[in-house]
């Protein structure tokens, strides 16, 4: 990358067709480049994060102003933040962890705190409440990256123990990526 003038745009709007088209129209007309983005529907709200770049330096306020019209006319709230580029995360082993069970407070926090203490990095996280209204089930799926040369071979057992204490089920699967 090595791009200067990076901004993050976070937007949330009640879902309807045309949100992405509206936002990217502003970006295109003002010569922004979308470097990376992720968007999804969360409980009826469309939530998106874009990392965008611009050739010229701009202030957060200047970027934010470009979206004023969208908020007024279409109810899309946009938050703008100036970003400095960070180092790429080191390449270690990737795992997908699924934790699921009856809905109760603390599932995400307990698992995340454990991973944090071990120095394991969460790079993707999705949670959902599914099931019937009377007996909701909580589903969390995350992808994590272990530090290189990770010494603790018992981390999966410890995590399973935490899951057992929470009364949830857990499944861990190592993801191998190959250039074919």
């Amino acid at each position: 990358m090595g791009k200067a003038n990076l901004f993050s745009l976070m937007l949330v709007a009640g879902d309807r067709p045309g949100i992405v088209a509206d936002v990217t129209k502003v970006l295109l007309e003002n010569n922004f480049n979308i470097e990376d983005s992720s968007s999804t529907l969360l409980q009826g709200f469309f939530a998106a994060i874009f990392i965008v770049s611009h050739e010229k330096p701009m202030t957060e306020c200047e970027v934010k102003e470009l979206f004023e019209g969208l908020l007024e006319k279409k109810g899309v709230s946009v938050k703008v933040q100036s970003m400095t580029e960070t180092e790429e995360a080191p390449a270690g082993e990737h795992y997908i962890i699924s934790v699921y069970g009856s809905d109760k407070p603390g599932i995400v926090h307990k698992v995340a705190s454990f991973l944090s203490a071990e120095g394991i990095n969460i790079i993707d996280l999705q949670t959902k409440v599914a099931g019937k209204e009377k007996s909701p089930i909580y589903i969390m799926v995350m992808e994590v990256v272990l530090p290189e040369y990770f010494p603790d071979k018992t981390w999966t057992d410890k995590l399973k123990q935490i899951s057992a204490e929470l009364g949830t089920d857990i499944h861990l699967r190592q993801i191998e990526t190959y250039e074919l």
Partner: protein
């Protein structure tokens, strides 16, 4: 014999459909040697298809044993006009490709395949294979039809997990 440049998307050749090989002429022999040399020159390359070096012939070279986690395989070989006759099971796999640098994605592949092909002496063969070698053959064969793994990605990171409404 030569190590050839590996074409990188958006080179339009990568989206072309390759021709069947009908005879073992000098040109085909040359392509086979270049595929082997190019695969060997890259320490991590376990497979390459002729279109990746700009030759639109239905030839792939594979060396699944280069992957330490490959398990059983039929070893290094050239496959000419490969056709997958039968497949069973689905296995999710995260793939990358020399022709699409810096991008990986989750792809569903058949776990086990029956593949018919000719070896480098144009002798007909049929093998059954599974696991890594089967995935590799599917990935390389796709190149012969102008199909990249991006065409088959089911999700960038985690597998999709969406709540559906049932009536």
């Amino acid at each position: 014999m030569a190590v050839r440049e590996v074409l990188v998307y958006p080179d339009p050749v990568l989206k072309e459909i390759s021709e069947d090989v009908t005879e073992l002429n000098d040109k085909i022999k040359q392509v086979i040697e270049d595929l082997k040399d190019t695969m060997e020159s890259s320490s991590h390359s376990v497979g390459i298809a002729a279109p990746q070096i700009g030759e639109l012939y239905r030839i792939i070279a594979i060396d699944p044993g280069k992957n330490p986690k490959c398990g059983q395989s039929h070893g290094r070989q050239i496959m000419i006009n490969p056709v997958i006759l039968k497949w069973e099971g689905i296995t999710p796999f995260r793939e990358g490709c020399m022709s699409v640098p810096d991008y990986t994605g989750n792809v569903n592949r058949a776990r086990k395949i029956l593949v018919q092909y000719m070896d480098e002496n144009l002798e007909e063969k049929v093998i059954e294979t599974e696991g890594f070698e089967a995935i590799l053959i599917q990935h390389e064969s796709d190149h012969l039809d102008g199909v990249l793994f991006i065409d088959r990605v089911i999700s960038r990171r985690t597998d999709l997990f969406r709540r559906k409404k049932y009536k």
